[in-house]
Symmetry: C2
Subunit: 204 residues, 2 copies
DNA sequence: TCCGGGGCCTGACATTTGTCATGCGAGGCC
DNA sequence: GGCCTCGCATGACAAATGTCAGGCCCCGGA
């Protein structure tokens, strides 16, 4: 038998992380060498233990799974990343793949299946949940231009146009214009609905 | 030794549910008699198995944990409810307690601790995570009147005033008035920021 | 080279939204 | 009863937002 696969587990929910560690330990060929509850902690643990596979939650305090994946890719190219997420938005998947992530699955996956997937990515293959992939494809690419997306992000917390204009160093009219065109492209009634839609699709 | 505590586990994340079931099974005095992935499923399972304790996720498709708890209280008063949540908003705790929930903890709790809490609520005691309780107290009661909250909910998806007015069967001016007073009470710049704040505090 | 298209940026104008003064009815208090 | 406060409801006015036509610059194709 070959060496056991060394796994890093990162999730801010202690409940799921501990339970998962216990279940994965039941698998003969998997060994959890480190656990982390935050993004920075995950990076530190990865540096310290150089795991074969990193199982990362998408939503963590400090730095999200994709950012951790980006760092890992640069510092530990041999470490394969598998992202696990509760509420998968299409755009996240795209960002994750761009960051070199090898696997992307929802938390509705069973532990048994997850163990299989850890082996899959460790073997050098990729795996993306079919349903999430379908969502990402049907959502397609963002139709927004760089400025439109930028302005929309600044508008995300409901700030008035004047404030957005200041933060983006643009005239108010310009900001209104981008907001308007973004809303039109997304088929939204106004910028607030546009923000909501863009969020859902992971475009901001 | 007394009878084992019969537990119902409801969570839409298969990963956490399965893992948790496995871990709780390691406890001698606990037995998981049913699992569910949605609100309605949880209710059906509860009726079928009449568990001693129901461990419910707050966010589930179909009906959230609090709604399930309300139903359970009416139909199975003997069944104690323990709510587990990922991102606890102050208002949810209040609603949960009003629904007769006996325990309320974040998912950052360890499985070991959760097992203890299941015994605690089964014994008839209550337990609320101290940090969540502190948040709820500092956030205080909602300052919004019934109509203000109602209108704010209708405004949640960024709909224009005309649409809100129609849905709430009010004049447009009236809707604007409620929106304005709600925003003022919450210290928000406009209704959209108000919606965001109210969401954070769990008041809508 | 010279268009044409697309992204970026702007101010002027129409529409929507937020604020204010006001009226009405239901309770609590003297 | 008389008085006050508070929530509910409305329309008029002021301010913020959305829409439009147009100018500028860069790049790729004719």
């Amino acid at each position: 038998m070959t060496e056991a696969v060394r796994v890093l587990l990162a999730d801010d929910e202690h409940l799921i992380r501990g339970a998962l560690a216990a279940l994965l330990s039941l698998e003969e060929d998997l060994v959890v060498v480190a656990e982390a509850a935050t993004g920075p902690e995950a990076m530190a643990m990865a540096r310290a233990h150089a795991p074969d596979v990193a199982v990362l939650d998408l939503q963590m305090p400090g730095a999200d799974g994709v950012r951790v994946a980006t760092t890992l890719r640069a510092e530990l190219p041999a470490c394969k990343v598998l992202i696990v997420t509760s509420h998968g938005r299409p755009g996240h998947l795209k960002r994750a793949l761009a960051a070199g992530v090898r696997g992307f699955v929802p938390k509705t996956t069973s532990a048994q299946r997850l163990a299989e997937l850890i082996r899959t990515v460790h073997a050098g293959n990729r795996y993306v949940d079919p349903e999430l992939a379908a969502d990402a494809i049907s959502a397609g690419d963002s139709p927004l231009t760089a400025r439109e997306a930028e302005v929309l992000e600044h508008a995300a917390d409901g700030a008035p146009v004047a404030e957005i204009a200041e933060r983006a160093a643009l005239a108010e009219g310009t900001v209104r214009n981008y907001l308007s065109s973004a809303a039109t492209k997304l088929g939204a009634e106004n910028r607030h609905a546009a923000v909501r839609l863009a969020r859902e699709r992971g475009w901001v």
